[in-house]
């Protein structure tokens, strides 16, 4: 266990109690929302695919804690956590997966297509790769517009062997774009182990090959993630170019709801990672350092439970979109 002082040192930030509790709160919000989505999926209330973020919460929360509202995020098929961390209201995430008109994509998107440009969530994608390039492009816009905004692309280990990674990172590097590339290395792409997809499983190290900064952190340590993100964001805002941040983490649920979770990884491995749960770890740390006490955590837990229950109610009570709108908004004039 770290002492409070150590925590501050570790991040290089002034993380006061409120901020530390906010990180905990955000992670818990994601966890509880995902658990509810999983239950709703099992009940048949959510159609289509549903990839949860359980186990990886520290990454989205740690990174987004260092972003401004007008910074932008481009995310993946596993994007609920990024959406929530960037500030999409839980009601809108829940309603979207329920296919309701009140969802953040008005029911057009579902789990893999969350859009909330109002808070800088520029979309999640069902295709592996494109968000890396789009994040690069947002960086290009910000550069051209001479504002100090920053763009973040989240992606999995499954994306790093794809051409989009190679092309996108190289472009950002040669033009010093204000982009933060966050690889959530959770060791598997669906059921394919990262080690079977490449001989170079050190993602952060690849940054050097592009001439950009590269950092690897424990993706289950929200403070480590936040510290690395802080540095990368500072670099980007200062015009000093992009960063590749590898967060080593694990998803503790199956690839998608309804899928098996055996055959490709052992129960022991899963259990091992469950013991490194990022939320429990932060809680223990803050308790251990005396930063917060059980009562305070209980209050946060209750608050989150209420928020998720409210989101569920909101989603359930919301109307479906009007079928007559099925072809609206294909073009800007319609």
């Amino acid at each position: 266990m770290h002492a409070a002082a150590e925590v501050a040192d570790h991040t290089g930030l002034e993380l006061d109690k409120n901020r530390l509790l906010a990180l905990y709160r955000e992670m818990l919000l994601i966890r509880r929302t995902e658990e509810q989505l999983a239950r709703s999926y099992q009940k048949g209330d959510i159609p289509g695919a549903c990839h949860t973020y359980v186990g990886q919460e520290a990454v989205a929360v740690g990174v987004c804690a260092r972003l401004r509202r007008d910074d932008v995020v481009f995310s993946t098929h596993r994007g609920h956590g990024h959406a929530l961390a960037k500030g999409v209201p839980p009601r809108e995430v829940m309603a979207e997966l329920f296919g309701r008109a009140t969802g953040c994509s008005r029911g057009r998107g579902g789990s893999m297509h969350l859009f909330s440009p109002e808070v800088g969530l520029m979309g999640t994608t069902g295709i592996v790769g494109p968000n890396i390039l789009q994040a690069t492009g947002a960086g290009y816009s910000f550069r051209l517009l001479k504002n100090a905004r920053v763009s973040v692309g989240f992606f999995g280990d499954g994306a790093v062997n794809n051409g989009a990674f190679h092309e996108g990172l190289n472009l950002a590097a040669i033009w010093d774009l204000p982009v933060l590339y966050v690889c959530e290395n959770n060791l598997y792409a669906t059921e394919v182990a990262f080690g079977a997809a490449t001989r170079n499983t050190d993602v952060a190290e690849r940054a050097r090959g592009y001439g950009m900064a590269g950092v690897a952190v424990d993706g289950n340590d929200v403070l480590a993630v936040a510290a690395a993100a802080e540095e990368a964001v500072r670099r980007a805002r200062a015009g000093d170019g992009p960063t590749l941040l590898e967060c080593r983490t694990y998803r503790t649920r199956p690839h998608a709801e309804g899928m098996r979770d055996g055959g490709y990884r052992t129960p022991a491995e899963v259990d091992d990672w469950k013991r490194r749960d990022p939320i429990a770890a932060l809680r223990a740390r803050l308790l251990g350092s005396g930063t917060a006490d059980e009562e305070e955590f209980a209050a946060v837990d209750a608050e989150i439970t209420a928020i998720v229950a409210d989101a569920l109610r909101f989603a359930t009570d919301s109307p479906y979109p009007d079928p007559a709108t099925a072809t609206a908004h294909i073009y800007s004039d319609g």
């Binding site: 695919a49 579902g110 994608t125 069902g126 669906t190």
Partner: protein, 327 residues
């Protein structure tokens, strides 16, 4: 005859061809030990191992280009895209390389490659997992495109595809995968030829050409209309490249009326091509304008009521047929 599901029938076809020819191999994400996201390869890894059931990283362009090179050098790749949507990152390879190398080499190289993937709207799959895209491959030279609607055709067309020396797209509608139907015994070794349409139901009042899943829906609509005395002839082209227009013309000469039902977008689609060809070749035999019933031209939304608004249903097909007969 045995009753098999579409997926099992197609898999049997693949298994037979892999047993027959050891140069056949499969690449894709999760098609090894896992047996494929859509169970396309279940049981084959145990028989043929990782070199012939090759799990890949997420590099659609990469493995399509790789398989193009493999097909040029003595092996017969089957690329399993899982969802056909993922083929789009490989379009440069497919259009400029895979489809052109036989021609550019004056036939001195062949291109025995199968590109299979699941297509279609349904199940709230949303916009990145609902694509059809077959008109693109019918428009461009160099491809064959199979769109089976029955388990028997799935097996027989896949076997033909694997034995073909041309690039073949073999497309399976997700909503057909669990449908069942008769399939000849394994030792029948039935190959369904490309470019030969099937008349699924005979009728003298109106011709309906339906593609893929729409064949089933149209047959249901035709059954409904039979109660009202409307005799619908239902034609399933089975491949859209080559496209068997002769069988369609034969029917239209009899009925004088033609409707084309296609889940995919209308503009510059397969229905447009059929309409144009029939107009060119049987203009004087048409008693009414050729009609098309297509899915709406839009990205596919997720929410079930929006999604349902897109696609021709049994009822909408029946209504379109009724309208056409009344013209």
């Amino acid at each position: 005859m045995r009753e098999l599901s579409f997926t099992v029938a197609a898999r049997e076809g693949l298994a037979e061809e892999m047993a027959r020819d050891e140069t056949v191999f499969v690449v894709g994400e999760g098609i090894g030990e896992r047996g494929g996201n859509f169970n396309t390869t279940v049981g084959l890894y145990e028989l043929y191992g990782p070199e012939r059931l090759r799990d890949t990283p997420i590099v659609e362009r990469g493995f399509v280009g790789m398989c193009t090179g493999a097909a040029m050098t003595g092996t017969r790749p089957v690329v399993d895209f899982m969802f056909l949507d993922f083929i789009l990152d490989a379009m440069g390879e497919l259009i400029n390389q895979t489809a052109k190398i036989q021609y550019m080499s004056s036939g001195r190289l062949t291109m025995p490659i199968v590109l299979r993937g699941c297509i279609g709207i349904g199940g709230a799959s949303a916009t990145h997992h609902s694509g059809n895209y077959y008109p693109i491959f019918a428009h461009l030279p160099g491809f064959r495109v199979a769109l089976p609607s029955t388990p028997r055709d799935a097996k027989g067309l896949l076997k033909t595809a694997i034995r073909s020396d041309d690039p073949v797209l073999f497309l399976e509608h997700k909503s057909l995968l669990n449908t069942k139907g008769p399939v000849p015994d394994a030792d029948a070794d039935e190959l369904i030829p490309f470019g030969r349409a099937a008349v699924r139901r005979a009728g003298g009042d109106v011709t309906v050409v339906a593609l893929c899943l729409m064949v089933n829906r149209t047959l249901e609509a035709a059954a409904d209309l039979a109660h009202d005395g409307i005799a619908v002839e239902v034609i399933d082209p089975r491949t859209v490249a080559p496209l068997d227009v002769d069988t369609i013309l034969e029917s239209v000469r009899k009925t004088g009326r033609l409707l084309i039902v296609d889940e995919d977008f209308a503009p510059a689609g397969i229905g447009a091509e059929i309409s144009a060809q029939v107009t060119e070749r049987a203009f004087d035999e048409l008693d009414a304008p050729i009609r098309r019933l297509n899915g709406l031209q839009t990205p596919v939304p997720y929410s079930p009521p929006l999604e349902a608004a897109l696609v021709p249903t049994r009822e909408r097909i029946a209504a379109a047929i009724r309208d056409l007969v009344a013209e």
